[in-house]
Subunit: 495 residues, 2 copies
Amino acid sequence: MERGDHEAHPGDPSATLTSPPQHMTPEQFREHGRAVIDWIADYWERVETLPVASTVQPGDIRALLPDTAPEHPEPFENLLADLDRVIVPGVTHWQHPGWFAYFPANSSPPSVLADTVSAGLGLIGLLWSASPAVTEVESHVLDWLVELMGLPQHWKTTASGGGVLQGSASDATHVALVAARHRAAQRSGRHAAHTVAYTSAQAHSSVYKGAGVAGFGHVRSIETDERHAMRPDMLRDAVAADASAGLVPAFVGSTIGTTGTTAVDPVRAIAAVAGQYSLWHHVDAAYAGTAMICPEFREHLDGVELVDSYVFNPHKWMMVNFDCSAFYVSERSALTEALSIDPPYLRNAHSDAGNVIDYRNWQVPLGRRFRALKLWWVLRSYGAQGIRQLVRHHVAMAQELAERLRDDPRFEIVAPHPFSLVCFRCRAADATDEAARAADRATDAVAAAVNGSGTAYLTPSQLDGRSIIRVAVGQSRTDREHLDQLWKTISEAAA
Amino acid sequence: MERGDHEAHPGDPSATLTSPPQHMTPEQFREHGRAVIDWIADYWERVETLPVASTVQPGDIRALLPDTAPEHPEPFENLLADLDRVIVPGVTHWQHPGWFAYFPANSSPPSVLADTVSAGLGLIGLLWSASPAVTEVESHVLDWLVELMGLPQHWKTTASGGGVLQGSASDATHVALVAARHRAAQRSGRHAAHTVAYTSAQAHSSVYKGAGVAGFGHVRSIETDERHAMRPDMLRDAVAADASAGLVPAFVGSTIGTTGTTAVDPVRAIAAVAGQYSLWHHVDAAYAGTAMICPEFREHLDGVELVDSYVFNPHKWMMVNFDCSAFYVSERSALTEALSIDPPYLRNAHSDAGNVIDYRNWQVPLGRRFRALKLWWVLRSYGAQGIRQLVRHHVAMAQELAERLRDDPRFEIVAPHPFSLVCFRCRAADATDEAARAADRATDAVAAAVNGSGTAYLTPSQLDGRSIIRVAVGQSRTDREHLDQLWKTISEAAA
C-alpha cells in the first residue's frame, strides 16, 4: 500500500487539539476508596439484620433508574448513596449467615482485597508474556492445591498435567467436553453428531448443557442407585450398547458431591468403564472438592488418579469469591491440542519456544483476569489450617442438623449427607399416593415459610418426583446460633 | 428412604463441638482495605516510572514462592509486601501510559471501586431471583448503551432483543456460533459437521476458535480487499458454492475494527448475503464499539440493524476494567432456545412465569458476578461526555502519529486508521524481495528497540506476510507527551 493512501479521516479530529477527560485524582481515589471499604465493612456487620431474600417484584429496581444514561459526570457520593437506595433492596444476600440455599458462594476479606488489587493492576494474562506473574502465580498455587487436597501428583504443571482457573465449573466441564469430543474425533474419524456423553441422572445441569453446547449428538442420563450415585453397571451397559450401535462413546462425567444431594459417584468403577472404552473421564467436585483439604474426606477421591480432568470451586466453600474454579487435567496436551490457535499478533519468543504456559490455550476466551491473586491471598490469610477448620465446622453443624431432623418424626432425611448438605422432607402419614402428595405440600410450605421469614434462605427442590428441601450449610458467617434459628423456623413451620 | 438410613458419617465430626476459623475483624478489614487502596493509588502514580514490559524469565516468579502452601495464617502485611517483592517485577503494565500493545484494557478508579463492592457483596446472579438487582441493573444499563451508541432500538431488553454482559468477546462470539448452529440444525435437520461458518481472513482468532469449539464442520476464511475488509462478493461465492455442495451455511462474522488493522467490514453488503442464505450474522466490534458513543463514527455501523448479534468490550476502551463484554442479540429467544436447561433446584415462580430475564440462559456458565455495577459507575462517573472526550482524544493522537509517520520517508502506513490504531512498517528501498526482507528486519528491530526501551510497549505483527508494527493508542493515561516519547523512540530506533 502506497504512502498517502490513508490520509483522510472522516471525523478529522486531528484538526483540533484534544485533551483527556477529568479522571478521579489520586487523593479523590484514596478518599472514595476508604468510603467503599467502610461501606463493605458496614454491610458485612449489618447483613445479618437484613432479610436474606430480596422481596422486590420484577421491574422494581429498573423503576428506580433514570431512563437514559447521564450526559455529565455525577459526584461519587451519589453512586455510594445508590448502593443503599437502589441495590441493597434488590439483593438476595449470599453473604448472610442465614444462607442455606444452592451452595454457598463465600466471599472473605482477603479475597475481596485481592480482587481490588487485581482490578487496580488491570492485567490481562492472555499469554505468559502479557504479565508473567499472572500465569506463574496461578500455576504455582494450583500446584500447591494438589498437595493440599491429596490430588494426584501428575496433575501438577511441573508434571504432565496442570491446573488452570476457569470462571466456573460449567466452563471447566464444557472445555473437558470439547477436549473429549476432539479426542474422540481423532480416534474414530467420526463427527460430534455420533459421539455420546454419559453422566448420572443426578449430575449438574452444566454437564447436560455443556454437552449440548459442545454439539454432542447424544447425552445419556445413567440411572443412580439408592444413594443417588451413578450405577457403573448401567453405565457399562449403555456404553456397550452405543458402541455396538456404531456410535462413539466419548465422555463420562462423574460427580463427587452432586448438587441435588451431594451423592458421590463410584469414580474407580466408572474409571474402569472409561478405560475400557477410551472415554474422557471428567470429575465434577465443584462443591465437595474443598472438603478434600481434610484427609478424612479423601476416601471420596478413590480412583481419581485414573481420570482425565477434575474441577472444584474455591469460589463455593473456600472463601475465594466468585469467579475462581480450579480445573485440572492429567495431560495438558490433550486440552491445548483441542483449544490452541495462533494468530500473528500473539506470537512471541517464549511461547514459540514452548517453555511457558499460555493459559489462553486452556480455555475458550482469550482474555483472563488475575484471579489467582485472591486464591493465593486466601490460602495465606487462613492457612490450610483455617480452611480445614471452616470445613469441619460446617460439616459438624450439618451433621447436628441431620441429627435433629432424624430425631423428629415429622421429617425424614432423603439422602446420605457426607459433607455439609442435608436434604429432607416432611414424612408422609402412610404409603399412599395421597399421603405423599400431602407430605409434598407440607414440605413446600415449610420451604416457603423459611424463605419468607427473612432469617434464612434454603432451596426447595425435587428428588425422585417428590418435594424436598436442601439445606446447604457453608456460609462462612454461619454459626450454631444460625442453625438453631433455622431449626426453630423449620420446626414452627411444620407445626 | 427410611429414617435412620444415613446415620453414620465417616469422619464423625459431630462428636466434637467445632468452631469457625479466625476471620479478619471489621476493624482489621478497614485498616487493610485502606492500605490496599493506598497501594493502588501509589501504583497508579508510579506506574509511569516502571518499565512497561516485565523482563523476568520463565520460572523467575515461581522461584520466589515457597514450595508448599502455608499451614498457618500469615499477617496481611506479608501479602501486601509480596505485591512489590513478587508480583510487580512480573507485571507487564497494561495501565502504563506507554501502553500501545494489543488493544488497551483500561481500568479506572470508579471501575475498580465498583468491582470492590461487587466482590464484597459476593452475589451470584444466576437467576433473576438470586439477586434481582444484578439482572435489572445489567439489562437497564445495556439498554442505556443502545441509545448512547446509536444501536438499533430493537436490541433493547424492552423490545425483542437484549444485551447481556459476557466475560469476553470470545465468549460472546462463541455463544453466537452456538445459537447459529442450533438455528441451522433446526432449519436443515443436518448436523454441525455439515455447517459452515464464514469470516474474513482478518477476523479475530476468537471467531476461528469459537467455530472450532462449537463444532462447526467448516470455517471459511473470506478474502479481504485492499483496505483489509471482507469482500462480500467473495463471501457470496463461497456461500453459494457450499450450498450447492449440500453443506449448510450457518454463520457469518463481520468485524467493525479488526484486531490486525481496525478494518471495517461492509456490514450492510454482508447482511444481504446473510439474509439471502439465512445465516446468523454476528458483528465483532470488540474494540471499535466504544467509539460509537461519538456520532461521527457511526457511519461504520451502517447495516447493523440487519444483524443477529453484536459484541463490543467496555473493558477495552471504555474504562470499565476486564471482564465486561457487552453482547446484544436482535431476538433473545434465538439465544435462549439454544442455551436453556431447567433443573429442579433452579425452578422458581418468576422464572416459570417468564416475566423476568434469567441470564444463565444467555451464556455458557451458570454463575455470574455483578459486573454491571462497574459499567454503571463508569458511565455515571465520566458521563457520556467524558467517554466521548476520551475517545476523541485517543483518535486525535493516533491521527497525529499517523501524520508523523506519513511525513517521514523511512516509514509507510500499511492500512487505513479510522480509529486509534496505526499500523506501519519500515519502507523498503525498492520493490525487490531482498529489499522487502531488509525492511522486515528493520521493522522488527524498531519494535524490539521500542519494547526494550521500557518507556513504551507495542505489538510487532504480520500483514500480508510482511512485518508490521501495531500502535494502539487508547490507554486512559496516555497523553501527547507519551506519544512524543514513543515517536522519539521509534525515530531513533529507525536511524
